[in-house]
């Protein structure tokens, strides 16, 4: 994508014009950024107490997947596991444009981080990530997962 920057010391009306062919995720991400609505998740290292750990801003692009265990939400990244205070449903809505899709009752995965999608001999389908971990794609979510992929391909 071509980027033009114009510096005008006299302007009082700073603005951004976006010319696009179709409304795809990357355009929506730019809009979010301009509107200051770019989602960033606040998390604390999972191995520390909630009150002690330093809060870290997580970029959705760095997250492999989100896991909801015992009413707690965890984000798995290359640098470790972080506990989030959001709900899985709110993350699903917020991160829709960032490649996150629900694959089971407790997992939201980032399709951009999937290394390979492969079925086991017992017919369970797993998404393998760069960090070597695997997440099972539940049969009940197979259809919506496929629809999401089709939609993302059409928009990309």
């Amino acid at each position: 994508m071509k980027l033009n920057l114009y510096e005008d010391k006299n302007t009082s009306n700073e603005h951004v014009d976006v010319y696009y062919t179709n409304m795809r995720p990357v355009i929506r991400q730019i809009i979010d950024m301009v509107n200051s609505e770019r989602p960033s998740l606040q998390g604390r290292p999972a191995d520390e107490d909630l009150d002690d750990g330093e809060e870290i801003l997580l970029d959705p692009r760095e997250i492999y997947y989100l896991d909801h265990i015992d009413r707690k939400l965890f984000a798995y990244t290359k640098n470790g596991v972080f506990r989030l205070m959001n709900t899985l449903a709110s993350c699903e809505e917020m991160l829709w444009n960032y490649g996150f899709v629900r694959v089971s009752k407790s997992n939201l995965i980032n399709i951009y981080k999937i290394k390979q999608l492969k079925p086991d001999l017992n017919m369970k389908v797993y998404a393998s990530f760069d960090n070597g971990e695997r997440i099972c794609i539940n049969r009940s979510y197979k259809k919506s997962f496929n629809e999401y992929l089709q939609r993302m391909r059409r928009m990309s």
Binding site: P119, K124, V125, R139, Q150, M152
Partner: protein, 143 residues
Amino acid sequence: MTGKFKEYVLEVCCVFTLMSVIGAVVNIIAGTETNNINVLVMFATCAIATFVLFLHKLFDSVSPLVMIIVQYLVACALVGLMLWLISMFISPITPKGWFEFYRSFTIPYIFLAGFYYYRVFSETKKQDKLIQEIKENNKAESV
């Protein structure tokens, strides 16, 4: 529960109608005739097959392979019960009759299970290709 039961009855009706029409066409072509008992057995078989397929929602957490095996065993048990009831109250069934009936539902079951197995693998391959394509496009956009 009532909703599920209604859904089940509706599915049984659809399956039985379809099987009856196919059976009638086969009878016309082959010049054979069926009898009332055969129609009732066909209805019971349709009800069992639909019930067994309905069970798949209960096996969400287990692998499809386990689900297929459990469904087959449940189908075997229900068919056994049906044949036993027929032999007790309608007419005796010879061992060959039992064997023939089991064979006639095992063969299509294995065939369909194999087809399902193949579809899981081919669909996953397609989805994997799709993911790689989306990733490539996203990389190109980011550069």
